[in-house]
């Protein structure tokens, strides 16, 4: 190595930006709001955690960079550049890397936790249309997001929706695969992952889209399990018992016999959500997104063609509604949301706040009620 500090013609130093505030905790690092000292543009900087890396630069971060360099779409967060920080004793002589993104004012979880923010039906349609459009784009590029949740859906002040946090994303192929099933935040995790499927596909992201869509009305996550077992129970209570009759081949999944699956449950997606969602088309699309069998779950293309988006009221820009709010809303900065709006079942096994995030671990662990900035996530392949 040369003795003098070399110049990196291609990689700017982080001092180019001035940090303004911490706005979030991603899968592999903290996120800051920052301002370009020269151009004065506001950006989001995501720090890549590297202290615990025995294998060098984290493959998850490299995947995110690789994926974001390729994906360029209105509904995908835009990676502007990558910055570095000098190695100092403070970071054990390991220089830090920042991903610099265009700044988005809000995230969906933050917006939903603020009762002042109200979405009408046409605006909900616009949110879902943009979300599905983003999914359609990444899935056509053979990328799985694997961490769909309201906090990862960013919305600019002009109402443009961007899928963010590709820290768990990866490329997929149509051949038989063995991916890790320890992905997706528990509350948004589809039944196939909970049952140990390792050869999954884009349908996992559409389950999350369904959970998020319902949340547009319920205002908090619809199935807040404490453990994988509990999550499966909640899913069965909403979507009906998981059996080989309605989902061919489910009995072949690794955990099908190891998990306790409630029997004789009727599917009540439309009934249970009817209290919140009055629109018949919305209920029908929700029903199709929250389909247990991943091979029969609606894909993003068909979802975009659903009547929901094509009957009055048509999707309407969020620009106007958001212009009434001039404060950034991020889940990280918001007070914890009220728990369990539609899950009133008593005595579900493992239920109750005392269950704690037992046995979760991994990036898909239970979202903590508060935030824990020091939380480290297990690195996985």
């Amino acid at each position: 190595m040369p003795k003098e500090e070399p110049t990196y013609p291609f990689c700017p130093d982080e001092t180019k930006y001035e940090k303004l505030a911490k706005i979030g905790q991603g899968t592999f690092g903290e996120v800051f709001k920052a301002r370009d000292k020269k151009g004065k543009i506001v950006v989001a900087m995501k720090k890549v955690l590297m202290e615990n890396e025995k294998e060098g630069f984290p493959i998850t971060a490299l995947r995110e960079i690789k994926i974001l360099q390729v994906l360029k779409n209105d509904n995908i967060v835009n990676l502007l550049e990558i910055c570095r920080a000098k190695a100092t004793p403070h970071n054990r002589y390991r220089s830090t890397v920042y991903l610099v993104f265009e700044f988005c004012e809000h995230d969906l979880a933050g917006l939903l936790s603020n009762p002042q923010v109200r979405f009408n039906l046409a605006e909900i349609k616009k949110v879902m249309q943009q979300l599905l459009n983003g999914l359609y784009y990444i899935h056509s590029n053979k990328i799985l997001h694997r961490d769909m949740k309201a906090a990862n859906i960013l919305i600019t002040k002009t109402g443009k929706l961007k899928l963010a946090d590709f820290g768990l994303a990866r490329a997929f192929s149509d051949k038989l695969n063995r991916y890790t099933n320890r992905v997706v935040t528990l509350w948004y995790r589809p039944p196939e992952l909970l049952l140990g499927e390792r050869n999954y596909g884009p349908a996992i992201d559409l389950w999350g889209a369904g959970c998020i869509m319902a949340e547009m009305w319920t205002r908090s996550p619809i199935m807040q399990g404490n453990t994988e077992q509990h999550q499966l129970t909640l899913i069965s209570q909403l979507c009906g018992s998981i059996t080989a009759d309605i989902w061919a081949g489910v009995d072949k999944l690794d955990l099908f016999n190891k998990m306790e699956l409630p029997k004789g449950q009727k599917r009540k997606v439309k009934e249970r959500l009817h209290g919140y969602v009055k629109d018949q088309y919305a209920l029908d699309l929700l029903d199709k997104l929250l389909t247990l069998d991943p091979s029969r779950r609606v894909n993003s293309d068909d979802a975009l063609n659903h009547d929901f988006f094509w009957v009055e009221p048509l999707p309407q820009d969020l620009n106007h509604m958001l212009s009434r709010h001039n404060k950034s809303m991020f889940e990280y900065l918001a007070p914890p949301r009220r728990r369990g709006p539609i899950q009133q079942q008593q005595g579900a096994p493992g239920a109750g706040p005392s269950g704690g995030p037992g046995g979760q671990g991994g990036p898909g662990g239970v979202r903590p009620a508060g935030h824990n900035p020091d939380q480290h996530f297990e690195r996985i392949f």
Partner: protein
């Protein structure tokens, strides 16, 4: 680039490929490692770096980029053994940990130096498509008797000994190795002489015979370097 530098780079790429083979890597990750290596030394001076350390790091980075699940520990052990054929295998100890630390540091350095642009569109997939077409044009017996596929694939992998891979489109490289392989085997595609559009133009409309000849000349030059380097 001076002749002696060319020879150093040739040896390092040969080393990367040997280690890659022992690690059971596929051809594309090895191609990525070689491309990262050449790209790095286009921008930076050989005298400032240990090219073998850069080589090992390129290999480790390429494994991540191409989703080849290989542990850094294995890469270090295999590369050490490949470089030091007469020494005992590496034991867990200070040397191992130092080497490992060097590679992880160097990995960051490479990423920053290359602006995190470590994904490449390689000629391999294009060559596969072209070979499929050629196999349909030829008589089945001809295709079976003459190993055009294997020869062109080997030529392609050998291209990476030289930094010529940075200067040409992947489609052009694929066509050129195919052209060279057909020539080596004295094989002519049916009605080639009478066709208004040459077969290689079918694969890439921006290619010309001049480009093909330029690339082939560079490939031949790379084989010449091999003769100047000790085994």
């Amino acid at each position: 680039m001076s002749e002696s530098e060319t020879r150093v780079h040739f040896r390092v790429i040969r080393y990367i490929r040997e280690a890659g083979l022992k690690l059971h890597l596929e051809n594309v990750p090895v191609a990525t490692a070689s491309t990262i290596y050449h790209k790095f030394f286009r921008e930076y001076q050989l005298k400032d770096y240990d090219p073998f350390l850069i080589g090992v790091t390129c290999l480790s980075l390429a494994c991540k980029v191409e989703e080849q699940n290989v542990r850094l520990r294995d890469i270090i052990n295999v590369c050490y053994r490949t470089l030091h054929k007469n020494k005992a295998p590496l034991e867990i100890g200070d040397t191992f940990w130092q080497l490992r630390e060097s590679v992880t540091q160097c990995e960051l350095y490479l990423l920053r130096a290359l602006k995190f642009k470590v994904m490449f569109d390689h000629p391999h997939k294009y060559l596969c498509h072209y070979l499929k077409a050629v196999s349909d044009w030829l008589e089945p017996r001809q295709w079976e008797e003459v190993p055009v596929g294997r020869t062109s694939w080997a030529l392609l992998c050998d291209c990476y000994h030289s930094d010529l891979v940075l200067d040409h489109q992947p489609q052009h490289l694929a066509v050129s190795v195919l052209y060279l392989a057909l020539q080596c085997h004295g094989l002519e595609l049916p009605v080639h002489k009478h066709a208004a559009v040459k077969w290689y133009q079918v694969f890439s409309n921006s290619i010309s015979l001049e480009i093909i000849q330029t690339i082939i000349t560079k490939i031949m030059a790379a084989y010449d370097v091999e003769n100047q380097v000790p085994r």
